[in-house]
């Protein structure tokens, strides 16, 4: 195997992922549905939706993360005031322009009041389609929030099953959990490689691979990552004198790809982040043998990752962030939130306080999914990286 051969394999895989990323009209979903008349697709908004249930009902779960910087907003802006974040504008644009026509239904997981109200807007704009607000529990007691969540999972299974004509049996759901466990395993390996040898996994490639999982059938996505993991260590990539940073705040509205490229060019290896967080919201393997509903409930209530839209019951988010910074050997933290993002921006003072207390350097800036000017961010990130390289602190 030559380095060039492996690099070309990597390039091909990344090109495939990039084409999916640029597919803001969901042509890949239309093609997938076109292979059989009975195929259905269910769109879900950030952050987390139980894709196993959708899959077990015979539908394709499709992540809807907005139009990024690729979509011209023609009508979407007329639905929102200037102080509302950008993601719902592009999502409404997709809806009213017909780009979401391939979806047979939508899940709006509870993140914030904007996404919540967007669910009601979809009920009106796309009347007749299945639109459900997924109220993820903020009470994590298995007898309380767990039981409530179980009823939510069954309600989704029944509704999607009614669309596809496929009943979600325990056996089917166990099979879906097993497939997603493989996907979780592959993603965790990708994360680990990126953390240990970030020069092998540039942030843009890593990001595109994650995003591909929001469009591809799960087995195809797992194969894509596995092939990348096999090829990339032999692609002849060499480390640069970059600092290692951890990013928080980008769990919902996604940064444009050019912004991620800018951060690396400014001298930052991203060794941990919360991009496309739903794809790794439950980082461990779920039980494939017992009651599959319980496996999903416990996965969420006991093992899902901490993020700003989830109640921090244990009151440890600051300490947890500090521990993670040390575990991934990050030199500093970029608090990178979308403008007008309530969860991320309300979280920031608590995270800043914990980082300050621990003496961990950080810097913060805002973006939107269609940010087009990166000079200021490049200077800020570059200065941050230089300061750490020179003095070990920002």
């Amino acid at each position: 195997m030559s380095t060039a051969t492996e690099q070309s394999k990597v390039d091909a895989l990344v090109s495939r992922a990039q084409a999916l990323y640029e597919d803001v009209s969901f042509e890949s979903v239309r093609r997938w549905k076109g292979q059989s008349e009975c195929r259905k697709a269910i769109g879900f908004l950030p952050i987390y939706a139980p894709r196993e249930v959708i899959h077990a009902a015979g539908a394709l779960p499709v992540g809807i993360l907005g139009g990024g910087d690729q979509l011209e907003i023609v009508r979407g802006d007329s639905f929102f005031q200037s102080y509302i974040c950008h993601l719902p504008r592009s999502v409404v644009e997709m809806a009213v322009s017909g780009r979401l026509d391939a979806m047979d239904g939508f899940l709006f997981p509870s993140i914030c009041d904007v996404i919540r109200n967007l669910s009601g807007m979809f009920q009106m704009l796309l009347a007749g389609k299945y639109v459900h607000y997924l109220d993820l529990p903020q009470n994590f007691d298995s007898e309380l929030g767990g039981e409530f969540y179980r009823t939510e999972l069954h309600a989704i299974a029944d509704a999607v099953g009614a669309l596809t004509g496929t009943r979600v049996t325990d056996s089917r759901l166990r099979g879906s959990i097993a497939l997603y466990n493989q996907n979780r395993r592959a993603i965790q390996e990708l994360l680990q490689l990126r953390t240990e040898q970030p020069w092998l996994v540039p942030t843009t490639e890593y990001y595109l691979l994650l995003r591909a999982g929001y469009l591809l059938p799960v087995d195809q996505h797992t194969a894509l990552i596995d092939e990348y993991l096999q090829a990339v260590p032999h692609a002849g990539r060499r480390p640069l004198d970059n600092i290692r940073v951890l990013i928080r705040g980008a769990f919902c509205e996604q940064p444009p790809l050019a912004l991620l490229r800018t951060l690396e060019r400014a001298g930052c290896y991203v060794v941990d982040d919360d991009f496309v967080l739903g794809s790794r919201f439950i980082p461990r393997q779920l039980d494939e043998t017992g009651d599959p509903w319980t496996a999903l409930v416990e996965g969420f209530t006991r093992h899902s990752v901490s993020t700003a839209s989830k109640y921090d019951e244990a009151n440890t988010k600051g300490e947890d962030l500090v521990s993670l910074v040390r575990a991934v050997r990050a030199d500093g933290v970029l608090l990178m939130a979308p403008s007008f993002c309530d969860p991320a921006l309300l979280d920031q003072p608590m995270l800043q306080s914990a980082l300050d207390k621990a003496g961990i350097p950080f810097t913060s800036f805002k973006y939107s999914e269609d940010t087009g000017q990166f000079q200021v961010i490049r200077e800020q990130a570059g200065t941050f990286a230089d300061a750490i390289k020179l003095w070990g602190k920002a």
Binding site: S78, F79, F80, Q81, Y83, I84, P88, F108, S110, I111, C112, D113, V114, R116, N117, L118, S119, G120, M121, Q123, M124, L125, H132, Y133, D135, P137, Q138, N139, D141, E143, L144, G145, E147, F148, T151, A308, S309, Y311, D312, E313, N315, K317, A337, S339, F340, C341, D342, P343, L345, L346, D347, Q348, P349, M350, Q352, S353, K366
Partner: protein
Amino acid sequence: MTAQAIKDQSQERQKQMLSDYFDSLAHAKENGRKVVYTFVPGNLTELIANFDLLPVLPEINALQNGMRGRTGDFIHAAEKSGHSEDVCTYVKADIGMLKAGNMGPTGQPLPKPDMLLLSYTGCFTFLKWFELLRKEYADCPVVMLHVPYQGDGHVTPQMRKYVADQIRDKVIPALEKLSGRKFDPDKLKRDLKRSSVAEDDLVWVLESARHKPSPIDAYFGGVYYIGPIFTAFRGTQDAVDYYQLLRSEIEERIRLGLGPVTPEGNLGEEKYRIVTEGPPNWTSFREFWRMFYSEGAVVVASTYTKVGGLYDRGFRHDPANPIETLADYCMGCYTNLSLPERINLIESYMNEYQADGLLINSVKSCNSFSAGQLLILREIEKRTGKPGGFIESDLVDPRYFSAANIKNRLESYFQMIEARRGRA
């Protein structure tokens, strides 16, 4: 100098009740009273009183500070300490007040919380607000009451069970532990009965706006003296007495054919009947109100006065099912309704109150209200054929109240109503 406002007896009474309330908070610790911070939507006032605990409502402190011109400095202080300019100004006003010594709106000290009862109802920011406050009050316990959203437009038995179980299994045991008292179900039933009596009178007062002329302003008057008593005093004899007094005053206004009381006396001719959506601006409250009554505009129904409960759609606290009724109350608050249900409610207000139009005051701070309001506006115009108006301001950030712009827009809006009438 601002002229002295003209007030009815009920307004004087509510002022005294609020003053006594803040006085009791100022002396809570020396009197051995423990304090529970909680929020207006989904408040469990009768349950907190069951344990002889005092409720503190941070939104009320923020808006009261806003009306007294104190929040600009508080918000500035919070932003200097790392809070984003993009987020809710109630939160920043509260954090800023805390950093300035926690002197409440009346100039008296506010007690530290002994518990943060996080009634997570209809507003995501509540969750972050108490996470932030918990950091400020290091050892203060937080009790989460997750109230599911009516995303599909109704309350399911599973939703009711979830909330009721949390009240039984989490909230009541935590309040028992804090207070050292056992839960008294008989007292709760008695208090809920008093709540329902007051609720009957409150609804009667709100619905009096169906008269022409309306004897009340259901927005400015609604938030000033009709509604505020409800939250902290619900379940008390004081609240029952207050609403009887208020009702008798309104009955007299109807008998005399009077319009609502304003800070400058009784409104003259009622020229425009308006339904409003969204909270008011608090920092220029009186100036904002004057822009309406100086044009003869009366708000006959408002959604904001329903964040504390939708009693006018039939809900009453039910002493026969004390825990389940608290659950239903929490889930029924206006901000917990789906967007289509909000539109249906506004449409019914437009028809029932024979309104001339819908005016939306869109506040920067509150995405729970604001996200989707432009769709609400278009849909109501389409369904009713009545003109919609749209203005923007904020809750308690004085930087976002542009008086000249808002006045211009309102005057244009009223002219538009006039023009439509001319064509009718």
